[in-house]
Every structure is written in structure tokens, then in C-alpha cells.
Assembly symmetry: C2
Homo-oligomer: 387 residues x 2
């Protein structure tokens, strides 16, 4: 096991009815900015619960943070924060709203060009950030219990990430009833996103970090088990709870500790969102199978382990099991009604590989993946294998 440092100070309040506890969790003397997206929280009851909880707080609102939180929109919110001396942020939404809020928590105290925070990957400490809470409305990204964020800039077709120990939410409310009103497509995206988060921290090479493997497999098995129920069944609180907690645990830092991680599926996937506007989770479903086929020699042992532990494939050679593992993965995405070929999302796919190759070279991202062997040329080949 590799040496590691682990700390996660976020307080989780899990369960139905927890939103009202915001009244106690957010300091009474705070000036709060509530940030949210397109307004679905106004129809599903979440907005009313939040406003009710904060009825005795001084509250401002910013509506309209889009998916893949757009830099230009965030700058408007930043202006509101500075103008009104906001000192506490409350994200009410999914990963996009929370990620945008993390960027704002850092940008509010950053003196230079805010874009530096992602373009230079500046790490934000607690002293450098406003405190913030979240009310999660879409299980998927794990942003509610980690310190990373990703934002986008349409003008330059960039989608970039950053992080820092000051960007853990102080409190996150996880109320599984929010899943009741989610469109099926968003639930499918959430499952695929969380599932791929685990793969990025697990599907590398055998490390003999037994507990991390077991935990990763536990999350994958839980997602597989609840997926058809939360997607196709009537709303069920138990299934929604399992789904929500699994998504949070998939990316709160725990399963990555002591083991190698990949993250090049995300690195490449982000570019497909930046280029084509494809939903984040779907870019992962496009890239992961193509990636694992392309890097088969390096990953086959862990792929076989995955196939055995997660899909109960116990017969055959390492190569045969590994191959079946990739097939099961792809079939799992299909079971979520998520397509896994780039050409199924856009007709303009032909230059996608070469564009990504150039972008990675320009940024100096020359060695991604657990073996640092995902060069820009390999990334291009993976994208072209996903057509």
C-alpha cells in the first residue's frame, strides 16, 4: 500500500427532512448566497424547504448555474458575492451547482484573474475560501463530500478542474427524496458517473490493497444492484438511499487512498463535453470501454479481477476474463440506456481525436493515467477507437 494522507472534514446529514437543519448548521450571523440551477428546485419542494430553514438568516439568491458550470455565468455570481459582502455560500443542486460554488468560494478571496484557479490549478486552503454548504439534488459526482471542482469556458472550449483542502463543504445535506422528481436521463447519468469514478480509482493494476479493492467493488455492486430499481421502478426510499450514499462514497477520497489512480477517462471525457456538449457521464461511457480495450495489456490483470469480483466471471484465462469484464461494463452502460460510441452522439466526430491530441499537447498534459502512458497520441487513438 502506498503512503497516504487522508482527511475529510465534511459533515453529512443524511435522510428525509434533514434540510431544516440548515438553520442550525449555517451561522446565524452569516450573509448567505443560495446558488442553484435552472429552477427545478422550485417545483420539487427543495427550494421551499431551504428558504424555510433560512428564514431567520440574511439571504441572497443566484439562479441559473448551468450544467458544466460556465465561467461567464459564475463571474456574475462572483460580482453579486463581492457587492453584497456575502460570507457563506449554499449550493442547492447537483455536481454542477456545487462545483460552481466551490470555484466561487475560492474566487471570492482570490486577488488575481479567477481563471488562474483552474488554468494554473491553484490549490485553495481554508483561509483562502468562503465556507459553504450544499443540498444535493442529484446523486452523481460526489462533489458534496470532496474538495475538487470542474468548470467550463465556452469561449475557449475548455473544461478544467482544480481543488484544495479549503474546498470541502462544511455541511452537505443528502435527502434521498430528491430523486423522486429526477428525469430518468439524469438518474442514468448519475449512476454512470459514480460507477466510472470508482473505475478510475480501481481499474489500474493489482496492488494488493485488499480493503480498497473490497470497498470499490462494494460500491460497484451496490450501483449495479440499485440501477434497474431507481431507473425503472416506482420511487422507493431505500433504493434511493443506497444509490445516493454509493455516489457520495464513490468520490469522497476514501477508495483512492494508498492505491494508484487513472483519471485519464475523465481527462479525455472532459474534452468531448468541451467540444460537443455531450453530458459528462456519457463521455465517460464512450471513453471507458475504448480506453480499456486500448490499454488492455496494462490493465488486463485488474480487469480480470474486476470481472471476477464484480461480475462473478470465474472461468477462463486472465485475458478472457478481462475481455468479458469490458463487455459487461459496456452492457451495464447500455442497460442504463446510455450509448457508448461517439458517433451515436455527434456526426462531427471525425476530428475529435486530433483536436484532443492538439489540446493535450498545448496544455502540456503529456503523461496521463496510472502508468503515465496516456500520451496525447494515445488519447487520440482512444478517442478514435470510440467512434
Amino acid at each position: 500500500m502506498r503512503n497516504f494522507e487522508y482527511i475529510n472534514p465534511t459533515k453529512i446529514l443524511f435522510g428525509e427532512g434533514q434540510i431544516e437543519n440548515l438553520s442550525k448548521e449555517i451561522p446565524m450571523d452569516a450573509t448567505v448566497l443560495i446558488l442553484y440551477g435552472g429552477g427545478s428546485i422550485k417545483t420539487n419542494g427543495v427550494y421551499d424547504q431551504v428558504k424555510s430553514a433560512l428564514q431567520n438568516h440574511k439571504v441572497f439568491e443566484f439562479q441559473g448555474i448551468p450544467a458544466n458550470p460556465e465561467y461567464e455565468v459564475l463571474l456574475e455570481a462572483l460580482n453579486l458575492i463581492k457587492t453584497n459582502s456575502i460570507d457563506y455560500l449554499l449550493a442547492v443542486g447537483g455536481g454542477s451547482v456545487i462545483d460552481g460554488t466551490k470555484f466561487l468560494a475560492a474566487a471570492a478571496k482570490y486577488e488575481n484573474d479567477p481563471w488562474d484557479l483552474v488554468s494554473l490549478r491553484i490549490r485553495t486552503t481554508a483561509q483562502d475560501a468562503l465556507p459553504f454548504a450544499t443540498v444535493l439534488t442529484l446523486p452523481a459526482t460526489g462533489s458534496e463530500m470532496n474538495s475538487g471542482y470542474v468548470i467550463s469556458r465556452r469561449a475557449t472550449a475548455e473544461k478544467l478542474s482544480s481543488s484544495g483542502p479549503g474546498l470541502f463543504p462544511a455541511v452537505s445535506i443528502l435527502d434521498p427524496t430528491v430523486i423522486k422528481s429526477l428525469p430518468k436521463k439524469q438518474i442514468a447519468n448519475g449512476i454512470a458517473d459514480a460507477y466510472t469514478h470508482v473505475l478510475e480509482q480501481y481499474l489500474t493494476y493489482p496492488t494488493d490493497a485488499k480493503l480498497q479493492d473490497r470497498f470499490s467493488e462494494g460500491i460497484l455492486l451496490t450501483l449495479q444492484e440499485v440501477a434497474p430499481k431507481v431507473l425503472n421502478g416506482p420511487f422507493d426510499y431505500t433504493n434511493a438511499s443506497d444509490f445516493m450514499w454509493a455516489c457520495t462514497m464513490a468520490l469522497n477520497g476514501l477508495i483512492a487512498k494508498g492505491v494508484p489512480t487513472d483519471w485519464s477517462v475523465h481527462g479525455i471525457g472532459h474534452e468531448l463535453t468541451a467540444q460537443f456538449g455531450i453530458d459528462h457521464a456519457r463521455t465517460l461511457a464512450i471513453i471507458a470501454p475504448a480506453h480499456y480495450r486500448h490499454t488492455f495489456e496494462n490493465k488486463k490483470e485488474k480487469l480480470a479481477h474486476y470481472a471476477t469480483r464484480v461480475w462473478n466471471i470465474t472461468e477462463g484465462s486472465i485475458e478472457e476474463k478481462a475481455q468479458l469484464g469490458i463487455e459487461r461494463l459496456e452492457a451495464f452502460f447500455h442497460s442504463l440506456d446510455i450509448k457508448t460510441k461517439l458517433s451515436e452522439y455527434t456526426e462531427a466526430y471525425e476530428d475529435a481525436g486530433s483536436t484532443i491530441e492538439k489540446t493535450f499537447i498545448k496544455r502540456g498534459w503529456l503523461q496521463q493515467g496510472e502508468h503515465k502512458d496516456i500520451t496525447p497520441a494515445v488519447a487520440r487513438a482512444i478517442v478514435e477507437a470510440s467512434f
Copy 2:
């Protein structure tokens, strides 16, 4: 899934060589008291590493915290803390030293009789406690990443626990190389202790909290897999790492969230330590099988689930699987060279049950266990079934 609140602010530094980072983690202006046990840290190199890391800190020492940390000894340390205006504690040891240190962190700021902290189960907040760090030398109790503690008072044959949000270690150093010098008996105790911690949070009744089950099973399977290697093999860093991390995860709060817990095995086990001085872990190995046989009707479904998931017992009725689960559990303890009958530890066992019954009545502990059905009379029956 039940509603829950989860927060764990302890920073873990895991791996060989991490002890030197104490120099950065403990504030330079702190007056530090290093607490340890019988002095084994002076022969295994840990003491030297700690002293070297803190060579520029103002440091006092207290040696001699015994297993089942004794109240009278802790009062001596408390006196030292008050006399020297100590404001930071550093526990270097196993669960006993860490638990004693937690008591002292609370007692240092408690105005009344320190015994109140456990006899009245007073919860200690961060403002009510000295900050403290730990260097773990014996994987077992999980005390290095939780906020609970247990201390003993020989004069009254009491072993009592308390906890509080202020009693999470600020930092815990987990260096698996410490296992190199541990006696086999202590390693066996550590495995049995951590294993039973998981059972207390898992072996109740089916709850459909899928991820918590998977995580619990992951810890049990990891402990089972590494047990023969760390017990009987030559020292191996990888196995030691898996063992150490599994013990920490077994009782850091995570797997208990959202599910019922039992803890009556511990409740009864503590009394056997108080009465007979039997090692904590061994009292659990005595009580757990007798307990599960006695409460078979209430626990059989989860026992069968345990047998299937953890021991791969897939044939038979619920009752048959559950019965085999208990047999495998008992065999696992035996594989650690741990006996599971009270009469194998003491000849004076005959009154153990009636003594525990009276003690529980006196303390008002009338309804232990996940069904609140472990009355003093049931506790007596369980103890008598363990003879």
C-alpha cells in the same frame, strides 16, 4: 436506511516514515505530553522517531499507561498535565494508551470529579478538550480514528466508556512497520477485536443498507485473508498495511451510519475484563458465539447473510446457513489461537453470569442490543452459555 449524521475530522498519515511528520502536525508553540505504555516503544524504534520529530517542541513524558487504562494511573497523568500547563497530548501506543489519552483530553478541562465523564457518560465537545494526536502501535481498536474511549477502575471493578465530538484525534500516524515487533498474541487480539467491531455494527437484522453491508463484509473478508499471514508469516509490509487499515475502518463510524447496531457483545465482554482481567478481544470471542446462539431467532437472517457473503455458504435453509455462520466465526477465533469458552480462561466462572446481571441492574442497563432485548437476565444467560 436510517437518517444519520456523519463527520470524522481526524487526519490520517498512513505509511512507513510518517512519524517524522509530527514535527509539522503538532503546533510549534504547544507544550506536549507524550503518553505511552510499558515501554515497548523504546525497543522498537518508535520512541526514538517520536522524540526526533519533536526535538524542537517543548515535551513532557508519562510512561506506564496499562492495558484497560486504569483510572488511578490516569489521575497521575492528569496531575502532570495540570502542573505543567500541558496543552497538547500525544498518545503513542495501542487502544489503551489512546483511550486513556482521550479521557485525559477531556478531564484536563473538566471542573468536577473526572470519573463523572464515564459514569455519567458526559459528551465532550471540542471546546471541552485538549487537542491530541496519536501514533498507533497496535492495530485493533480503531480508537485512532474515532471519538470514543473506555477506561477501567480496579477499585470498583468497573470498565466504562464515553465519547464526544471533541475527542477525535487531530492527527493519527499509522505506520504498519510497528507490527514487526508485536507479540503474536497481541496481533491475534487485534484481529479479533476489529472483527468483532464489524459484527457489532453488521450482525443485527437485514436493513437493505446495501453499501454498509458491502463495506462491513469487505473489512471482515480482508481481516480473514490477512489473519494467517500477519499471525504466522514473516513480517510483510503489504499484509501489515491491509491489517492496519482494516482495523481503523472497522470502528471509525462509517459502517455504523444508517444501520442498527448491537454493541451488547462489548457491553457484556467489558464485564468479563473487569471481573477477571481477561484480554478485551478474548472476552468478545467468548461472548459473540454464545450471544448469537442465544439470540438466534432475532439474528438468524443476518447470520445467514453473513454466512453467504463472508463464508460463501450458499446451500441450505436460513437456519442452516446461520448456524454455519456461527460455527465459522468460532472456528475463525480458534484459528487465531483464541479460546471461546469462559471456563478456558478462569476457574472462577460460576458466578460470572449472576454478577453481570446484578451489575447491569445496578447501572440501569436494562435494554441493550439492536432490539433492546438484552436485559440483565438475558446477559446472564449469554454468559452462562459461554461457560
